[in-house]
């Protein structure tokens, strides 16, 4: 893709076909990979022993461990999760509208990256910094790698492998406790309280006729109680939030079979999402539930639930809960309305994005904010609060999150850089557009090559462009 008046690094030949990359003086790996991919492209015959299946150059997901699956070039969104997971990666490769480059390259890169990740994961003590470095280039879709890596990056699993089973057991039982305490309805509570005091000769009495005996209620606990400490009252007050959560969960990703539809699988997934959100809302009375949290939760749960390891998948609800808490901890303030105008609130973050854009591409910044008066709040609000889940399709979103979670600068900084990159990539269209067309474009961001996007975002890190 040729862009006029734009810095060279945006125009990297890394993304062109077959040539070995001389684009950047960055890491060796890039050089190594590009030379590798040029070899593959040149040979053009599927003599790669790397995966046993014929001509699967478009499926880096056909891994050594798993039996090779036939490549599915089109993404079937409505398919069952396993299929969609595999075809997802082929979509990443096929979704290259901007550059008509070869698909051979990423395959070798991916496979090698996967090998590195697996090596790293199998070490006794995982080197998190190393893991971050590899993961920031993207995590391949198979063998439950993403699930493990995300858990490590979010601090759920400790770096020391030997502690994994004890940590997991601890956390999972903690979640179970939370559920038991918080998801119970008042009838259950009264029944349990009574069990401790009931006399079993009630059974004998039940056969005879007569006036039913009245008994005292404890602490004025009855369903119509208006007392602040009454469990019934609290239950009814929470009912509104539960309804909101229920509605939002039902609307999450209606196009994916994993989340919606009539299958019992979808229903159980929805149940799990609901439970997690309810427990979170009850444990965090300051922030409760805000619309949009379901969108941040969805990719986490998807990845963990689809872990090929049965045991991990079965406990995915508990794992997702803790990882969700961790992920949200950096972004909590965006959801709190009172903090909107404060230093940590969403407005301030959007301003930071604006500053970043001004720093890197002043022309675009001026055109957007001054000339066409497109207030960044109109588009960036959703980008930032929902961590870009609504701007790209699900597969791309997972890919972006790989980088988001693994970047050592932290998710917030990385997110801003990616948003800035999103703007820069469509600068031509934006510069040519007016308020309406620009807003329309930004609110329906066009599909792009995610790897390119992340590459650009990465470049924004060190120094402003010339």
């Amino acid at each position: 893709m040729v862009k006029k008046k734009v810095p060279d690094w945006l125009n990297s030949s890394l993304w062109a076909t077959t040539t070995s990359s001389s684009s950047s003086a960055d890491d060796d790996r890039l050089q190594r990979y590009s030379s590798k991919h040029s070899i593959i492209a040149d040979t053009a015959t599927p003599t790669e022993p790397l995966d046993g299946s014929p001509v699967p150059v478009s499926t880096p997901a056909s891994i050594r461990e798993q039996p090779p699956r036939p490549s599915k070039p089109e993404i079937k969104i409505k398919d069952k999760d396993k299929d969609s997971r595999n075809s997802v990666s082929s979509n990443i490769n096929n979704n290259e509208e901007d550059n008509g480059n070869s698909v051979a390259g990423p395959s070798a890169e991916d496979i090698s990256r996967q090998a590195q990740l697996l090596t790293e994961l199998s070490k006794k003590v995982v080197n998190i910094r190393e893991l971050r470095r590899i993961a920031s280039q993207g995590i391949p879709d198979g063998a439950g790698i993403r699930s493990k890596v995300w858990k490590l990056l979010l601090g759920y699993l400790p770096a020391d492998r030997s502690l994994w089973s004890s940590e997991l057991a601890k956390k999972r039982s903690q979640y179970k406790h939370f559920k038991e305490e918080l998801l119970i309805n008042p009838s259950e509570i009264t029944r349990r309280l009574e069990k401790s005091t009931v006399c079993e000769n009630d059974e004998a009495k039940s056969e005879s006729s007569g006036m039913l005996s009245r008994s005292q209620i404890t602490h004025g606990e009855h369903p119509l109680s208006l007392g602040k400490t009454s469990i019934w009252n609290q239950f009814f007050q929470d009912a509104e939030i539960m309804e909101q959560i229920d509605r939002d969960v039902k609307r999450t990703h209606p196009d994916l079979h994993f989340f919606s539809g009539d299958s019992s699988f979808a229903k159980s997934n929805q149940e799990a999402l609901k439970n997690i959100l309810i427990v979170f809302a009850k444990l965090n009375p300051g922030i409760r539930y805000v619309q949009g949290m379901n969108e941040i939760l969805a990719p986490l749960f998807y990845v963990f639930r689809n872990d090929p390891d049965e045991e991990m998948a079965a406990c995915s609800e508990a794992d997702t809960f803790f990882c969700f808490v961790e992920l949200l901890s950096g972004f909590r303030d965006h959801f709190c309305q009172q903090l909107d105008n404060s230093v940590v609130g969403i407005r301030s973050t959007i301003t930071k994005l604006s500053q970043l854009l001004k720093e890197h591409d002043e022309e675009l910044w001026r055109h957007l904010e001054v000339t066409t008066k497109v207030n960044p709040q109109f588009y960036a609000f959703r980008w930032i609060t929902l961590l870009l889940t609504q701007e790209f399709n699900f597969a791309d979103c997972l890919h972006i999150w790989d980088t988001l979670l693994s970047d050592p600068e932290g998710p917030q900084e990385t997110l801003l850089r990616i948003c800035c990159a999103m703007l820069i990539l469509i600068r031509r269209r934006l510069l040519a557009g007016d308020f309406t067309s620009n807003l329309k474009l930004l609110q329906n961001y066009p599909p792009t090559n995610i790897s390119h996007l992340l590459y650009v975002a990465n470049k924004l890190r060190a120094q402003p462009s010339g």
Partner: protein
Amino acid sequence: MVLVLAIGDLHIPHRAADLPPKFKSMLVPGKIQHIICTGNLCIKEVHDYLKSLCPDLHITHGEYDEDSRYPETKTLSIGQFKLGICHGHQVIPWGDLDSLAMLQRQLDVDILVTGHTHQFKAYKHEGGVVINPGSATGAYSSFTYDVNPSFVLMDIDGLRVVVYVYELIDGEVKVDKIDFKKTATTRSSN
């Protein structure tokens, strides 16, 4: 966990002006899933008020009700329980437990809710349970002027019912509860 309100014999406007304020403050919409009304409201405004508490309202005809379209008896199913409603002025002698038991067997229900006596009662016999929520306004009955306002809220949870009895005694709301379970085996039917 289904909350069912059993209420009746309000006799508004003839014998009472309105529900006691302490009752009214407790009865808010959104908490109750069903209302069972024994009858003698008597006017449409009371019907509308009850409807605003809960859209699922079941009423039977009391002898002073102005709306003649209410049925004499009604049965419905809530959870595992079958409930029957009848105002009770049709069952003679009024308030006689054996006669009410006959009615219950006739309707074939686990819980029979009746009124007319303006006296709270909860009675168990082999055929099931009879509950009389009393008069929610404390209106005088055919027997006596000495009536305490009362109503009943049932919490149906599986095979178990917890009956909360709300009474206004000396200006204070007193709540008691009654527990009973339905045996899983069906009653002998012949």
